[in-house]
């Protein structure tokens, strides 16, 4: 009875904490974009534009004003929910983000699923046999995964599984040309196709996902496996595990219900970190697999000094990060009854 409001307050507190972060992000992203070299007005004016037309465009974009004024205008737009227009793609930033974010999230989500499915069992296995050859092998494998740049792994996988073996569909983005994208519900193609009852398309979308997701997932194996192992080791040493064993609970019950559930707490925190990390690494994977996600968008935008796009991207990522952390906190409070009760 006392618990609920306390936890609610915790979540509220987290939300409050996010406010300075968001303000910080707005300021930093604004300054960062203005520090970018290149003159958007020149770029925007296109080839063969004259001085006057460049100047005209500079004025229409508001770039002739002083930085503080530009900043105020930007904040004003933000408050009205306007993210501006991306000059490099010619679309409103908001549209771009809403179509591209699901692509990135789908990719990252699948990558993490893959990563968790591989890394957690490895970590548990390693923790139950510390310092054995299995432990060393696990360490070796997951470290190998994180040792290669993602773009290299990606290209190598494409070369092997698509070019040489032909097992994988052409790396042409989210869906092969043969299929039409499913009606938009969530933006996740696999899920949307399933909702639509179109299993063929769902399967095709899934097939497109495998290579990029594995590429990204390989990269995130190590932190998850390492954390799982460390947390499991620590928990397994705990007195309550001994109690559970002494009470005759079965090995699986001890390992999963008692040890793993406790060990999962630090793993969840790591997952949050890994997720935001993977969203960053997306940038490279998306480029390799022609994935129309938010990461490749950001790269392009950054290279051409597309202010609105970069700002919009950074802001949406920050929001995502805040939401993610909130989710983690909530999961944490769900799993760990101690939270919010003692200091």
């Amino acid at each position: 009875m006392v618990r609920v409001p306390k936890r609610l307050r915790l979540v509220g507190y987290r939300l409050l904490q996010a406010i300075p972060v968001l303000i910080g992000i707005v300021v930093v992203s604004f300054l960062l974009t203005r520090a970018l070299p290149g003159d958007p007005a020149v770029y925007f004016a296109g080839p063969a534009a004259s001085e006057e037309s460049i100047e005209q465009i500079r004025v229409s974009m508001g770039l002739d004003r002083s930085l503080p004024v530009q900043f105020l205008a930007y904040v004003g737009d933000l408050l009205r929910g306007e993210l501006g227009q991306s000059i490099s793609t010619g679309q409103p930033v908001l549209t771009e983000l809403t179509t591209r974010l699901p692509a990135s999230l789908e990719l990252t989500g699948f990558a993490l699923l893959f990563s968790i499915a591989v890394a957690m069992p490895l970590g548990i296995l390693a923790a139950t046999r510390p310092n054995s050859w299995i432990d060393h092998l696990c360490r070796f494998v997951v470290t190998a995964g994180v040792s290669l740049p993602t773009f290299f792994t990606g290209l190598a996988l494409v070369y092997l599984f698509y070019f040489l073996l032909g097992w994988s569909p052409a790396p042409m983005g989210r869906l092969d040309i043969l299929y039409l994208s499913p009606p938009h519900v969530t933006g996740f193609y696999v899920i949307d196709a399933l909702i639509d009852g179109d299993f063929e398309t769902a399967r095709a979308a899934l097939a497109q996902l495998i290579l990029p997701a594995v590429t990204l997932g390989l990269f995130t194996l190590a932190p998850i496996a390492r954390m799982t192992r460390a947390a499991m080791l620590q928990v397994l040493e705990g007195d309550f595990i001994r109690t559970a064993r002494a009470a005759g609970l079965s090995g699986n019950k001890v390992l999963y219900t008692y040890a793993l559930r406790n060990a999962i707490l630090p793993v969840i925190t790591t997952l949050g970190m890994v997720f935001s990390f993977a969203l960053g690494a997306n940038v490279l994977v998306e480029k390799v697999f022609a994935w129309p996600g938010i990461g490749s968008y950001a790269v392009e935008a950054l290279v051409v000094s597309d202010y609105a796009a970069v700002q919009g991207f950074v802001l949406s990522m920050a929001l995502l990060f805040v939401i993610l952390n909130l989710l983690i906190d909530v999961t944490y409070t769900l799993v760990d009854p101690r939270l919010g009760m003692e200091d």
């Binding site: 007195d239 309550f240 001994r242 009854p337």
Partner: protein, 564 residues
């Protein structure tokens, strides 16, 4: 004689470590008959726990039973397969541990944890598990079991957690209960309540109990028979009365002697031939060194109105050369008081007059450079925690000398070595790191550091709580000696009246931040006036040579006092 329930014969347990194989238990034979309570006593590391783990077969991966046999109720535990063992554990024999809070899964409600065991052993189905779990909670006398069912361990007090652990252990009505130091870390009063509960429940069910403890007093109070272990071996076994009346093995004798009793003097704790024996000489107290007036410490809570008065208007004084004892149960504010006197913590109000100067007004942050700093030193409760793990003993002892004494170079070396000699620390240990030292050695390093600047007042915050009785005996004698040599005053903090009495002429009894009684040590122990003092006294288990075994009549009142 009937067949014993548990029959351990020539048990040897080995651990494979990186420095080769360690024999933790060698050739140990112990039997426990039905309904019997057998105690295993011995110092830390003597193999008590390992023996019990071997019985349950829950040794670490590194450990293995290298020889001997363990037969429980006709089943050879050493040879049985894991299935059989799983059935045995919890159902036929079960175990409770030290530090009850850590022994419970922190994120599972206690009711569920009890259910897990019941369901595992097919004593309940999912449908009636809850009801049965509540019954079990009732059996261990937990008030309001229906709502406690949902509680998480962190929401319960230590004593209550231990009851839950007992509930888990006894849920399936096993025949043997192994209790491994079940009350370490609990208050004396709680300890008594828990032990009484165990005795009562086991008697009621005609169970056997194997009680593992290093506290001879406790073993004497609750066991029929006692097995003494030293360095992995059983050195003596006898029924309780015989053992105490006529200890045969020298180790047993030493153990017995080192255990403080109501009438023992500090020198008595060490064998007569030990050169470290010291008798305190009663010196007339000098003038007032420290005067505490109306000291209050309020800790702000998370919310308004949530504040906590840890120390609530304390006034007392310590004279030059005097030793003052401060006793009270856990959480009554003893450490808070000492921190304030040490100027590690700023009091909320009140005065701390040291040598007539009010040092309470100097903020703790700036006290490091105050001239009085060197005059006030402290020995901490946990010797391990109080030493910087990255510093050698020498460096730790040097620190105050360099900072406040401004000694350096060869003078520093000489001084440190002199100090080490003074506290009886062999010189070759000075370059070791804390983890390479034993508890007693660490305590000495801590003491050497504290007396390096020859302080006028030394606060001892439970300096022996983490030590074995025999080490405690040595340290207490050392403290007596040092006091005489250096003319210090002590403020000795403990929850164990018995120990305080050995060192202190005068004792304050504290409860909930206030002093409830004070007086000379003798007077207080002989004729305690305040009921709280009496309760504290009654809860201390004593070896039988002096008062008889603890009677069970006071038990209800104790429980009532703790769990209203």
């Amino acid at each position: 004689m009937s067949i014993p329930l548990l029959d351990i014969k020539a048990l040897t347990v080995e651990f494979g470590t990186r420095r080769g194989v360690v024999d933790a238990v060698r050739q140990v034979s112990v039997t426990v008959a039905k309904g019997e309570t057998v105690g295993i006593v011995g110092e830390s590391g003597s193999g008590k726990s390992v023996t019990s783990y071997a019985v349950m077969r829950i040794l670490d991966r590194a450990g293995r039973i290298a020889g001997g046999s363990i037969v429980f109720g006709g089943i050879n535990v050493g040879k049985a397969d894991e299935r059989t063992m799983r059935d045995l554990r919890g159902r036929e024999m079960s175990m409770i541990f030290q530090n009850p809070r850590a022994a419970l899964n922190p994120i599972r409600s206690v009711g569920r944890q009890i259910e897990d065991v019941l369901i595992e052993h097919s004593l309940a189905t999912r449908a009636d598990a809850r009801e049965k779990a509540i019954d079990v909670l009732k059996a261990v006398r937990i008030n309001n079991p229906e709502s406690r069912y949902h509680a998480y361990p962190f929401e319960l007090s230590g004593g209550m957690c231990q009851r839950v652990v007992i509930a888990i252990a006894l849920a399936c009505r096993p025949q043997l209960l192994i209790a491994d130091e079940p009350t370490t870390g609990l208050d004396v009063t709680t300890q008594k309540a828990v032990m009484d509960l165990i005795r009562e429940l086991t008697a009621e069910r005609n169970m056997s109990t194997l009680l593992i403890t290093h506290d001879l007093g406790l073993a004497a109070a609750y066991c029929d028979r006692i097995v003494v272990m030293e360095k992995g071996r059983v050195v003596e076994e006898a029924d309780t009365a015989t053992l105490f009346a006529n200890p045969r093995h020298p180790y047993t004798r030493r153990l017995l002697q080192a255990t403080p009793r109501l009438d023992s003097k500090v020198a008595d704790l060490l064998p007569e031939e030990d050169s470290r024996r010291r008798a305190p000489s009663a010196r007339p107290p000098g003038e007032v060194l420290l005067r505490i007036q109306d000291l209050v410490k309020v800790f702000p809570g998370k919310e308004k109105g949530d504040e906590y008065r840890a120390v609530d208007g304390l006034s007392f004084e310590v004279r030059c050369g005097e030793s003052l004892g401060l006793v009270g149960e856990s959480g009554c504010g003893k450490s808070t008081t000492s921190s304030m006197i040490m100027r590690l913590l700023d009091p909320t109000s009140g005065r701390i007059l040291f040598n007539g100067e009010d040092i309470g007004t100097v903020p703790g942050k700036r006290f490091a450079r105050h001239p009085a700093r060197a005059g006030l030193q402290m020995v901490f409760q946990d010797p391990t925690d109080s030493l910087n793990p990255r510093w050698s003993a020498r460096r730790s002892i040097s620190d105050p000398l360099m900072r406040l004494g401004h000694v350096s170079g060869s003078a520093l070396r000489a001084k440190v070595e002199a100090l080490a000699q003074m506290v009886g620390l062999p010189e070759h240990l000075l370059d070791r790191f804390p983890h390479q030292l034993s508890g007693g050695q660490k305590a000495r390093v801590g003491i050497a550091r504290a007396i390096a600047l020859e302080p006028k007042l030394l606060i001892l915050d439970e300096p022996t709580a983490a030590l074995d009785v025999s080490v405690q005996a040595v340290v207490l004698n050392l403290l007596v000696e040092l006091r005489e040599r250096l003319g210090m005053s002590y403020l000795f903090i403990s929850h164990d009246l018995n120990v305080v009495r050995l060192l202190c002429e005068r004792v304050l009894v504290m409860k909930a931040g206030r002093i409830v009684e004070q007086g000379s040590a003798e007077h207080l122990l002989d004729r305690p006036e305040h009921p709280y003092t009496r309760e504290l006294l009654a809860a201390i288990p004593h070896p039988p040579s002096s008062p008889p075994r603890v009677s069970s009549e006071s038990e209800d009142s104790v429980i009532a006092a703790r769990w209203p």
